[in-house]
Amino acid sequence: MPKSRDVPHLARPSPTQCPPGHFAASRTGVTHHPRYSLPLIAPDRPPRPPPARSAPTPTPIPVSFIAELQSLFPSDRCLLDDAALTAYESDGLTAFSARPRAVVVPVTQDEVVAAVKLCAAWNIPFMARGSGTSLSGGAVPVDDGLVIALNRLDRILAIDPVSRTTVVEPGLINLAVTQAVASYGLYFAPDPSSQQICTIGGNVAFNSGGAHCLKYGMTANHILGAKIVTATGEVIQLGGDSLESLGPDWVGLFCGSEGLFGIALELTLRLLPRAEVFHTLLAGYDSTEKAGKAVSAIIAAGLLPGAIEIMDRLAIDAAEAATRCGYPPHAATVLIVELEGPREQVDSEKQRLAEIIERSGPLESRVARDADDRALIWKGRKSAFSAVGRLSPDFIVQDGVVPRSRLGEALRRIDGLSRTHGLRVANVFHAGDGNLHPLILFDGSVPGQFERAEELAGRILEMCIEMGGSITGEHGVGLEKRAYLVPMFGEADVEFMRAVRRAFDPHERANPGKMFPSGDAPALTTHGLHPLEKAGILSRE
């Protein structure tokens, strides 16, 4: 884990710098780099009548959308030139890129609302952007649309330690929440591995996860209130500041809506008291099957660990090479289980856990001696994905969910797919949740490998659907998985989702082209390393 002081310059890019989450260059040699393109808004199309605005000073009558934009934002926060726009063309999934018409960097909520209203008046599509770490293409701009970059809308507006809540703006970095409330003994539970850099707004839009979802749920479970501006420019408060609420759970619906209803301006987060003690166990097995059975036994025994993670040999090799984390050298699989809670409870649970692990036939197992040892165990786990970059020039990170008790079967099938496609697959997963993250390794410079990798990634999603699971546990649908939404839900349910989206956004101006299938569905494609991963600052789960 990087020290927090490494973070600020990443968290607050000057708008002309490459924003966090942007890949300067793809690592792959694939030449048919797919370029994602959305229906163009013809720039010279006659605009709708401009909105009635009371101009503060007598300005010339606006002649274009851009001119109006410039009247709302100073030039250093209204980016129009090529070099500046390039930095915003793609997100954590490098494969897709699109050129926005302009990027604005609001510093107040009113500025966001004004930008959205302007888009409504001129019928220009827009997309909110946090740190651009989306792994599903969710933060790729709409071609020729407006990017509303929220990194500088990042104030903490209130902390109420007695109610265990905090009110923040959406551009705030996830980890900054816990840093701000730690002195009260509190923390913000959602912990995606990108937490040093991703924003609360992005977490909310994707309902992001992390290693602790089994016990604490996803981002949505930690959001009590959201002030939003809908695509039509209307500001609405959803939810409130209490754990309890009245009326339908609109906050719950907004979380995970991938920016398709509008933009979150202000969020009320629920905080939790930090656990008193942690007990971290690492066990190595000669087969993934055995590790999977151990997970089932742990759950069946009624234990509720904070985290249960599994890594296979390929992932271990990568982690070991990157971090010397000291995982069992001969194991085919490692299992990490972390108990947390009041001392007496953890003391009792750790005995139950030890018995279960002993009966599960591990090659070896050990318990973290102290906080440093615990950190080392987690470092191996958290670095695994980026570390896979050492084993292969290119890889695809897949994110799918299967029923927890069928993890063993899912892994066998992935192994079979790996053989038939002639590509190695490393597996790292949140075993307690049934959330798989297979990493498909390939070499984009070898003809045909990229296509096979793509095809294999698709087969894994089909398997998840067939097993009654989900096409995404935490990375969202974005652009990448649009083609799988209908196979998962069926035409009628997806049509209904679209209709509800239109209730908030009748003209489909908010982040259009995402989540729902469309004619030009782009292919799945290669994931290289994030620049921050290369720098060893970040790792992905």
């Binding site: 479970n221 609405i236 009245l246 759970d249 009041p342 007496e344 409870q345 009654g468």
Partner: protein, 341 residues
Amino acid sequence: MTPYASIRDALLAAPRVRIAGHRTKPALSTPPEDAVSLDLSGCRGLTDYSPEEFIFTARAGTPLTEITETLARHGQYLPCDPPLAARGATLGGSIAAGLNGSGRLRYGGWRDFILGAVFLTGDGRLIHGGGKVVKNAAGFDFPKMLVGSAGRLGVLLEATFKVFPLPQERLTATADTGSLTAALALVARLVRQPADLEALDFDPDGRLLVRLAGDHGTLGARLRRLATETNTPFAPADDSLWTTSPIANSLSVKVPVTPHRIPELDASLASLGLPRRYAVAGQVAWIGLPPEHTTALDSALRRLHLGGLSLQTTPTQLGLWPSPRPESLVRQVLDPAGRLV
């Protein structure tokens, strides 16, 4: 579709419909003059339960007790601790009313445990929202939207939940702090402790009720430590205090609140002479409401910028409610004819 065809027919046969389960919350289930009742109490039963997955699916009319008993046989429970179960409340009614019990403090309410929902829109479309796995980020989260929707956003037919392992043991304790102010000060310290309380309620006189849950043989030590660390004489008490409490009985107006607003709320309620109790570490007030005080409570809540849900008497919405705007937007899509009232 087949098992739900008759419900759909009944829905579409009437211009205005009010859904009812076991009618434990009459203010929500009694049809207004011009509407007919759509009774879902016959639509019941667990349709899917795999204990090893810690997930179950049940039809909306299933009594909560049937669910909690089945879960308990497998050492599992619903952490949202739904109230009114003993009186026959159904799963659908509890979700639609958005009612959680005191035990929701530790892990969350219905919204935190619902994974999937099958429902009919007001114009009779059958929609499947969410899924049947514990983690899922695909598509819009309609199941959450239905929590608290009081039947106005769809006819909930069945829902899927994740559940948790039942704690081996529970321990209830009380402490008398002497005043509301002292109780709030103690609550402020307790919520930041890693004590992992399962429930924490208090009354206007400053009597605190806490519940610990965990492994056999650990709770006594945890309680002693809590007492020492907070310098408060907690005394073990009977678990039945939770079920015999006024909440389970006569306090039928729910008011979401935060601890720092409780003093002003309590002063108002005291001046009206209304019985009350504060649950979930001061995140909700439960208030007893004799019908003749309805207008007075309504204006008191308005003054305080708070809102309340009345389960026994109409109007159900008291004080200031959250913006109705999202509901009116979404209802245009899922109930264009305004059938669900």
